[in-house]
Symmetry: C2
Subunit: 381 residues, 2 copies
């Protein structure tokens, strides 16, 4: 099986881009990734494009603007794991040898989409009765507190940490740095989760150029390789015996560690899906980055902060950057690429060797269907 | 590279299923394909699901009903080529060795979706001004008539042939057999295309189980292999120098023939994208199944009818079956599988060895972005 390198990455600022189209956001990220890789669009053999709510053919609609046409362009969707799943298909195409240079694009324009409110009830009775995404995470938080003694302050510490990281990321939506009291004092969304513990909708795009090693002259001083990317689907956590286990993420992580021939103890930096504060708590445990039940302390102790034992979400995570669904997973990989190259500026983790990216989620119209992707990258020692 | 077999196929009847959900239609096709393959759902290593307008996570929403969870489930979209593109990703996963037994599902529920009319103008100015899908095909027909002497009667003969084929297909939407005068006398939709030359929207699902050769004990007397499946994207035919050339299909076919190591002269049966009568005319030429400019005569002469030199659309095509977007490409492969096994009943082509499936199209919100997939299957001599 051929080695996969990330030749270039790029992303737009995430946020409310009221005056921009999906196509324009996507094209900006594509141009940035191609420039970073030092290649023109005509070098691409294929493109895999992650988009959730853009209405079909998102990839071609973006790429035709950049004159990129005539190649296989496939749109993929796996809820919040959409962008990560696109990267996995690109990796497979290169490993199989049907392509040498492949573009991965994640793009989403959410602003303006939910003017009439989100239609939750069409296919899911429990959602119509109130068991929405925030409510499901709130139940998870309550249970985690009861079961493991996690405190409201520990949950809030996730936001405080990630917003502090995000303040150093020029592409993040939020740059201010609320404290514990600010987080706990913000309006209740679904008890015990407050507003600042919920990520905002956002618009944005992120792109990466994946290549077979040697297919493109390397521009970066340090190579970044994709060691593994694993997708697992499952039913919602509310169907599990224990809602706090993060079972789908746990299985995706087990597969990814096995494929990469490393373990969680080898990870130096991680981008972990944090749509809500409790999400990072549950997922850092499910990924094996901290012991079961200690995800709250992992954040509150500073262990997962920049300068700590294992920095989590140095980009600021979804809580700082916002969550343009299809773009999120690719943006994580862009961040890890910058980190592994030593190009992350004021939020640089000290000399990381291995990075892990993780997404998990269910669609609005299908809360019971969950997908998770875990991707493991390696820099040079 | 590993050989790929089609271990089983299944599909629902296509048509207006007002009282059925997308999930129910998909599950019926999955059960049929698994039964045909003689395996349970727990034998599946992965699933690729084609759906265009179902609102996200279509695959997991269907498969959870059948207790199929915990595996990678990825939704893909490429306009009218969606189902075919799902099959291609499944083939890649098996060829790469990351899976041995993979489900391909195409599913679409269109009834009830366009109550307020189709919103054409949101991202495409030309569509808003009237250059819709039927209008684009109508321009193609007019140009083909002027350039190649194709007649209105020859165009109508495509419908007459396919509806006659479809009358022998219990899963087709239409079973009556209009004559040339009926077709030409039906209401004008976009001159010169009349109502009976336009395929109807439909609901339905089709599924196939792909396996590495030997991974599953073969139940069918005759093996059916996937020799090649190629996806090419491009800009709309209205951007081409010659609107009648079918350039995107032409490139996909060239790649597929090269990968399969056969040529168009080897094809014994074909399922060709016929959303409009002129579509089959242009595409049979682009696929090399008949000479350039002679697609009208190819249909009107009987050469592409059952009993003719090269039967095209023995299933009845989209003109008889209807066009449930994501399901269409998988249904073509189901038909070819039955044909290559000699199980197509009253519409059986005589002892076919090689079959070709072809889809091409652009999304409603992105007419300028076109995708085409050509898939080549082989039966046993």
């Amino acid at each position: 099986v051929r080695d996969i390198e990330i030749a270039g990455v790029g992303m737009t600022a995430f946020g409310k881009h009221e005056d921009r189209t999906l196509e324009s956001l996507g094209a900006e990220a594509v141009r940035a990734a191609l420039a970073d890789a030092g290649i023109d669009g005509d070098r691409l053999d294929a493109a895999y494009v992650g988009n959730v709510l853009g209405g079909g053919q998102a990839g071609s609609r973006v790429l035709v603007l950049e004159g990129i046409t005539g190649i296989p362009i496939l749109n993929v969707e796996a809820a919040c794991a959409t962008g990560s799943a696109a990267l996995r298909e690109a990796m497979h195409a290169i490993q199989l040898g049907v392509a040498d240079v492949v573009l991965v694009l994640g793009v989403e324009k959410l602003t303006g989409l939910f003017q009439g409110g989100i239609d939750l009830g069409r296919t899911d009775r429990e959602s119509a009765l109130g068991l929405t995404v925030p409510a499901t995470y709130a139940l998870t938080a309550s249970r985690h507190m009861a079961q493991h003694g996690t405190t409201a302050e520990q949950l809030a510490a996730v936001t405080v940490k990630n917003r502090r990281h995000g303040s150093r990321n020029p592409r993040a939506m939020f740059i201010d740095t609320p404290g514990i009291d600010d987080v706990l004092g913000s309006p209740a969304i679904a008890d015990p989760l407050t507003l600042l513990q919920c990520c905002p909708n956002a618009d944005g795009a992120a792109a990466a150029v994946l290549t077979a090693t040697g297919a493109v002259k390397r521009r970066s001083r340090r190579a970044v390789r994709v060691l593994a990317s694993e997708l697992v689907s499952g039913t919602s956590s509310r169907r599990q015996v224990d809602i706090t286990r993060g079972d789908v993420s746990r299985r995706a992580a087990a597969r990814a560690y096995a494929a990469a021939h490393i373990g969680p103890e080898d990870i130096d930096v991680a981008e972990v899906h944090d749509p809500f504060s409790i999400g990072e708590v549950v997922s850092t445990e499910a990924l094996g980055l901290c012991p079961r039940g200690q995800g709250g302390d992992f954040a509150a102790s500073g262990a997962s902060a920049l300068g700590g034992r294992l920095p989590v979400n140095p980009s600021g995570g979804l809580l700082s950057k916002g969550h343009p669904l299809g773009a999120t997973g690719v943006a994580q990989v862009a961040e890890l690429t910058w980190q592994l190259r030593g190009e992350a500026g004021g939020r640089q983790v000290h000399a990381p060797r291995y990075g892990l990216a993780h997404t998990v989620g269910g669609g609005v119209a299908a809360l019971d269907a969950v997908a998770s992707v875990v991707t493991i990258l390696a820099g040079e020692a």
